[in-house]
């Protein structure tokens, strides 16, 4: 333990004395937040329309329910995503923070046929579950109401056989900055940990410091533990700075609970391990930075840091699912902004498992001695 504290103290002193490292460690995410926050703080980010079609026969959509979905699709205003009929639609909308979810009820086809034939006002109600805080849900609502109005006019000659019940769900408005902030905190944990690990490992290898350390009683695991704690502390420092910007500049309401703190620590553990793995395969410090960039840049843009995954093409969403930063961002967002304890815990547990595996592999392949 004494060795770990000694090395940690040395690392912290080194960090504190390197003003440019401190600046760039904190400046990059801060500038990102300030710029993106200033541009997008008023805009919302969701414009999907989810539909649950309960009017099925043998698992197939009935004629008129299918027609309605086609009409909505042809408006070319939003992405239509189908929700399985077995799911409780309202709960699903709440859990997944959906802007708009339209439920087409059972009997929709039959009522429409009846209205066409008899022009009666035999009513059937669709339900539109929507986030009233989202401007895009208002657009969806107006389009859905317009289509319903038209169907009433065309099919039953103005008799109101079809109506829409609107069910608001979201008590709180989430803006881009709410979405963005946890993502940048996760991203900072990633860049700090990967770049620091890769840089220090390749530099110590190149300059022979590892050889010198290997001739002392300091054990390799003690050094790795010290470096990981250092990365966690620097990630926390980045987190504090970004939260201050969020609260002071953007008046955000953010929850920092134990889960989010554990998530940042586990993310640092995970990315420290990944950094060590990268460092094992680079030959010199110059190549180390390039290799770290190759790993961090795609993750930065494909893991839902800047854009919600659902807005990306399907193949990129598939890629995102194998990128560890995705789970860090999702977990932090769930814990800090949306208050979804289950999702936060699940993602934190997942990142913790990945973190332990990566640090074990990283430690195992980091060599101080030569063959």
């Amino acid at each position: 333990m004494n060795h770990i504290l000694l090395d940690l103290k040395a690392s912290l002193k080194t960090f504190a004395r390197n003003k440019s490292t401190i600046f760039w460690t904190l400046a990059f995410p801060s500038v990102l937040i300030l710029i993106f926050g200033a541009i997008f703080s008023q805009s919302t980010i969701r414009n999907d329309l989810y539909i649950q079609n309960q009017d099925l026969v043998d698992g197939e959509a009935t004629y008129w329910s299918d027609q309605l979905i086609s009409i909505l699709n042809e408006t070319d205003t939003f992405n239509i995503k189908m929700v399985d009929v077995s799911i409780n639609a309202t709960d699903y909308a709440l859990e997944n923070r959906l802007d708009s979810l339209l439920i087409i009820p059972q009997g929709f086809n039959e009522s429409t046929n009846l209205a066409i034939v008899t022009h009666s006002d035999s009513s059937i109600n669709m339900t539109l579950v929507y986030d009233q805080s989202s401007s895009s849900s208002a657009i969806v609502q107006s389009i859905v109401f317009g289509i319903v109005e038209r169907m009433n006019f065309e099919f039953s000659q103005g008799q109101y056989f079809l109506s829409v019940d609107s069910v608001p769900i979201a008590p709180q408005r989430f803006s881009f900055i709410d979405f963005f902030m946890p993502g940048v905190i996760g991203m900072t944990a990633m860049t700090t940990s990967i770049f620091t690990s890769v840089s220090i490992s390749s530099r110590f290898k190149e300059t022979g410091v590892f050889h010198k350390l290997a001739t002392t009683p300091l054990k390799r695991y003690e050094w790795i533990l010290s470096r990981t704690i250092f990365n966690i502390l620097v990630s926390y420092l980045g987190m504090v700075v970004m939260l201050l910007i969020g609260v002071v500049v953007f008046n955000m309401t953010i929850t920092v609970d134990a889960v989010s703190l554990v998530m940042v620590a586990m993310a640092s553990l995970l990315f420290s391990g990944i950094g060590m793995i990268i460092a094992r395969f680079v030959k010199d410090p110059d190549g180390a930075d390039a290799a770290a960039n190759v790993v961090t840049f795609p993750m930065m843009f494909l893991s839902g840091t800047f854009f919600e995954l659902s807005q990306m093409p399907q193949f990129l969403q598939t890629i995102a699912k194998v990128l560890p930063l995705t789970y860090v961002s999702e977990g932090l967002r769930a814990a800090m902004i949306f208050g979804q304890a289950d999702q936060a815990l699940f993602n934190t547990a997942l990142v913790s498992v990945m973190g332990v595996v990566s640090i074990i592999v990283g430690s195992w392949i980091t060599k101080w001695e030569d063959d």
Partner: protein, 310 residues
């Protein structure tokens, strides 16, 4: 292993694929001596040191350091040795004092940090960060760091490589101090003058093999050229005078010098007396001693390289 021995190496071999870096070498280092491993770059010096201090595993053969097996007792060896790796580096934003304290902490030892800094003459640089030190000062700090655990054996791998002559002589003084304190010093160098100036015994290594190992004077006597007495701008009749003493002499017409091959049978004073009696004139007298450079050339057919440190 005898208790008089600090290091005992037996048939040590290290191969990297087809390359044999160290080829079945055996030697001993006595306690309290300065032992120099002399050879050109790539001869196998650093590989040998790195095997002895536990940074590399030998392909075959073995060694003991202070009676401990390098394969089994690395932990015990680490506690008792100090190592200055080639081109010492450390936490570059820690100060001289902080670096000494850091490594002392790693050995769980409490040395007199200020005393160590004084020993390597870095008192006025105590608060300077490592990155701001010159090459010579960095090596001096490296030596201080190598002494934090009061080691019995100190391994110095090319301690003056790349240093200017002044810095090099500063490091030499430190090494002599270690010797005076009774520590065993294992030194590798490709500077012939360094081995001559410091070592009690010298092992000459070439292409992974030890080609000679002995006290440096014995090596020179056995494998070096004869010592020469040179009479500058001399009367050529000196050659016949020297012949009569049973020594060999050559006259260089171009320079006008007469070179006399010395041996133990005839004292220099007898030569001078004979020259004086024969009234042989000369402008200057020079003694050219054979060196380890000559020994190396004689044994390997190659020059060790007289590159001056940068």
């Amino acid at each position: 292993m005898s208790s008089d021995l600090a290091i005992s190496v037996e048939n040590l071999t290290k191969r990297y694929g087809d390359l044999t870096a160290v080829n079945g070498i055996s030697f001993n280092v006595n306690r309290g001596e300065i032992f120099a491993f002399l050879g050109p770059n790539g001869a196998g010096k650093t590989t040998t040191v790195e095997i002895l201090v536990g940074l590399r595993k030998p392909t075959s053969g073995g060694a003991e350091v202070l009676g401990f097996d390098i394969a089994k007792d690395r932990k015990e060896i680490k506690k008792r040795i100090g190592v200055l790796p080639q081109s010492f580096n450390t936490y570059d934003r820690l100060t001289v004092k902080e670096n000494v304290e850091y490594f002392a902490g790693m050995f769980d030892s409490s040395p007199d940090v200020d005393g160590l800094i004084k020993l390597v003459d870095l008192e006025d640089k105590k608060k300077a960060q490592f990155r701001n030190l010159s090459g010579g000062l960095k090596q001096r700090l490296g030596i201080a760091v190598a002494l934090v655990n009061d080691p019995e054996v100190v391994f110095l791998d090319e301690p003056t490589s790349g240093l200017d002559p002044k810095a090099r002589h500063g490091v030499w003084r430190l090494i002599e101090n270690l010797h005076d304190e009774g520590k065993t010093v294992f030194l590798t160098t490709h500077y012939m003058e360094e081995a001559e100036a410091l070592a009690d015994r010298v092992g000459i290594i070439h292409n992974g093999k030890i080609v000679a190992l002995d006290e440096k004077d014995k090596l020179i006597a056995e494998h070096g050229k004869k010592n020469l007495l040179v009479l500058r701008k001399a009367d050529p009749k000196a050659v016949s005078v020297i012949d009569k003493l049973g020594l060999k002499a050559n006259y260089d017409e171009g320079e006008g010098d007469v070179s006399i091959n010395l041996n133990h049978a005839v004292a220099v004073s007898d030569i001078m007396q004979a020259l004086s009696s024969a009234r042989v004139s000369f402008s200057e007298l020079q003694l050219k001693r054979s060196s380890l450079e000559d020994v190396f050339l004689n044994l390997t057919g190659e020059e060790l390289g007289k590159e001056e440190p940068a």
